[in-house]
């Protein structure tokens, strides 16, 4: 899809073509309404995350003393007000307040930013790691491939959460640590997807031709292999995000993810949520609702993007991403993308 510039203008089927991105959006809305709805939730998450503390009133010139707001969130995420501790939902605190009198709505809005960081950051790292390992292992083949794949096998044997918990204990809790650990560990696993795609593409005539005219390995990889796995990479990105957000929430829920007072949805559930769940059930409800909505939205959106970009990947298995590769491999299918 990025090679269109190389073609002669006459070769274009339609005189006026949308860019592939616009094309994607149009098809998403037309063919997959539920996916488009998921996309809206994704946009909402991004919007909330970016503008959580954007001082829009000050920005449009309202004097500071009138602009009594912290941006999208009515209060700061760590703004104490002990007098209102465990306050029930009211006009002042729409969703109630927690054990330190912090506004729950504001914390959830700021939590969207944390989920956004984790979703985008960890998935980006994961895709990068997967592409590097997968394309090297798939393209070089031979001994390196065999050894690298045994390492990936070993990595996949480890029990997801317990292994992650152990690594988190090593590197210590924190947002950056969570993003890196989640990204690298899932990247190693999903490198298999990239590997099998690269192996399938490697056999194509145009790669052989490029080799025959003496193209360097770097040129083959960057000009011929990577552009052809872009669809797969995008699909990995959209399908991976939901799992990342959910895993971060699980880690934070178990106390080894992002430490307080940073408002991670998972952490909010375990700290205030579980301690005060009988006196103030809203503390246990809303972070979970936010989490479910976001994960649901991203999954629907990711599924739709996958169906549109890469029909051969249909029937994926949601957050158990790696499994499908294995199924394809065992069935003896050459790869997951068609060039």
């Amino acid at each position: 899809m990025s090679d269109t510039t190389d073609r002669l203008p006459e070769a274009e089927a339609e005189p006026k073509r949308h860019s592939w991105l616009a094309d994607l959006v149009i098809r998403l809305v037309k063919e997959k309404p539920l996916g488009a709805f998921g996309g809206l939730i994704v946009l909402l998450l991004l919007f909330t995350g970016i503008f959580a503390d954007f001082h829009y009133l000050t920005w449009v010139g309202v004097p500071d003393e009138w602009a009594d707001t912290h941006g999208l969130a009515p209060y700061g995420y760590n703004e104490f007000n002990m007098a209102d501790k465990l306050a029930a939902p009211s006009a002042k605190y729409w969703l109630g307040a927690d054990n330190l009198g912090r506004d729950l709505l504001s914390r959830i809005i700021h939590g969207a930013r944390i989920s956004m960081y984790v979703g985008l950051g960890a998935t980006a790292i994961s895709v990068l790691v997967a592409t590097i390992i997968g394309s090297i292992s798939g393209y070089l083949g031979g001994k390196f491939d065999i050894i690298a794949q045994r390492f990936v096998d070993a990595w996949l044997c480890f029990p997801g959460l317990i292994f992650l918990l152990a690594i988190m204990a090593l590197v210590g809790p924190g947002l950056v640590q969570v993003i890196i650990v989640l990204g690298v560990s899932s990247g190693i696993g999903s490198s298999r997807l990239v590997r099998s795609a690269v192996i399938a593409i490697k056999e194509n005539v145009y790669v052989q031709a490029a080799k025959a005219i003496g193209a360097s390995t770097g040129r083959i990889v960057f000009r011929h292999l990577l552009p052809n796995i872009m669809a797969l990479v995008i699909v990995m990105f959209t399908l991976g995000m939901a799992g990342m957000i959910l895993t971060e929430a699980s880690l934070s829920f178990l106390g080894l993810g992002i430490p307080p007072p940073v408002p991670s949805w998972g952490g909010m559930l375990s700290q205030a949520g579980r301690t005060y769940m009988y006196e103030a059930p809203w503390l246990a409800i809303w972070p979970g609702v936010a989490l479910t909505l976001v994960v649901y939205g991203i999954s629907m959106w990711g599924d739709a993007v996958r169906d549109i970009l890469d029909p051969r990947l249909r029937g994926g298995v949601g957050r158990y991403g790696g499994v499908k590769v294995k199924a394809a491999k065992v069935r003896g299918e050459p790869g997951t993308t068609k060039a």
Binding site: R150, I162, L170, F253, L254, Y278, L291, T292, V323
Partner: protein, 322 residues
């Protein structure tokens, strides 16, 4: 078939090697201060008594003062010959015993969840496929995606909260051994098992549906219809049998999900299983329990994958001849 088994087993050796190296390094890469903390805690807990523990002594006691390859060799030797995974840093109890003690609890939870997951996933997935694009199909698919999207720890928390607010009912917080009170034990396990099972069923359901749809378009299904067979026969005798082969593989992918679910469910529902042991070990930095548990789970995972691959080769001869 024999050649295939031999090849699979040979390929397992390097994987197993990497598994042990990774578990080994997991513990050894820990910053040295954990041992210092341990010495300090021991010293402070033994005020008044003569405490001659220092960092070097502890290192020597744990065998951490010899070269790293010697440590690795000793560690493997201990596991292979004596099943010795080391001792807990804090309680001094044998890690192997601790794990064996908790294994039945996690196994029971995992088994119940697994059975429930298949009981939900297979009928719903098959129904969804044979009634594609009907209300039932949409309901089944929405349920599958919702079950994947809803965090199990949140649902678990909700189940702790609302029944107790509305009806004053709360799940037991003391573990009831099966032999003491089978019914009480099952009552205690059934809710976490349902939660874990539903979460697991989503993925399987979707793959069952996809595979069924693929199979239902095959020629032999049309032949079966043309012969005038009843729908029930076509679906059960011709379609399901062939569609389920790839599903076997997906099930192996649920093992890590299951252990992850076990950590969370055991934590929420106060079941003293392996997941909870692991979480506490991680929180206390109990290095040898962490490494022991990871090794046990990883080997379990490895064996599951092997079993699945072999059963796959048995079911589908094409696999063997690659």
């Amino acid at each position: 078939m024999r050649d295939y088994i031999i090849r699979r087993l040979l390929l397992m050796i390097p994987t197993l090697f990497f598994v042990t190296v990774m578990v080994f390094l997991l513990v050894r890469l820990v910053p040295g201060d954990v041992i210092e903390i341990m010495v300090m805690q021991q010293a402070s807990s033994q005020v008044g008594q003569e405490s001659e523990l220092d960092v070097d002594a502890v290192r020597h006691m744990l065998g951490l003062d010899v070269p790293i390859h010697t440590q690795y060799g000793r560690w493997i030797w201990g596991i292979v010959t004596r099943g010795d995974l080391g001792e807990s840093l804090w309680t001094g109890r044998s890690v192997t015993e601790e794990i064996l003690h908790r294994l039945p609890i996690t196994f029971e939870l995992g088994f119940l969840a697994f059975v429930l997951a298949q009981l939900i996933a297979l009928p719903v997935g098959i129904y969804s496929a044979i009634r594609q694009d009907t209300i039932g199909d949409y309901a089944g698919r929405s349920f599958a995606i919702l079950s994947l999207a809803t965090p199990a720890f949140w649902l678990g928390t909700m189940i702790m909260v609302f029944p107790s607010i509305w009806w004053g009912w709360a799940p037991a917080v003391e573990y009831i051994p099966f032999l003491d009170d089978p019914l009480g034990n099952l009552q205690q396990f059934i809710i976490p098992a349902i939660l874990m099972g539903t979460a697991m069923s989503g993925g399987t359901m979707r793959i069952v549906r996809t595979m069924m749809l693929e199979v239902l378009r095959q020629d032999y299904i049309r032949t079966a219809w043309a012969k005038g067979l009843r729908e029930r026969t076509v679906v059960t005798r011709h379609a399901v049998k062939n569609a389920l082969i790839p599903v076997v593989t997906v099930i192996s992918g649920q093992i890590p999900v299951m252990t992850g679910g076990a950590v969370i469910m055991e934590q929420i529902f106060c079941l003293p299983g392996m997941g909870r042991l692991g979480l506490n070990a991680v929180l206390n930095r109990d290095l040898f329990i962490i490494s022991g548990l990871n090794l046990v789970f990883a080997i379990f995972g490895l064996l599951t994958i092997l079993a699945v691959d072999l059963s796959y080769a048995y079911l589908d001869p094409r696999v063997r001849y690659r």
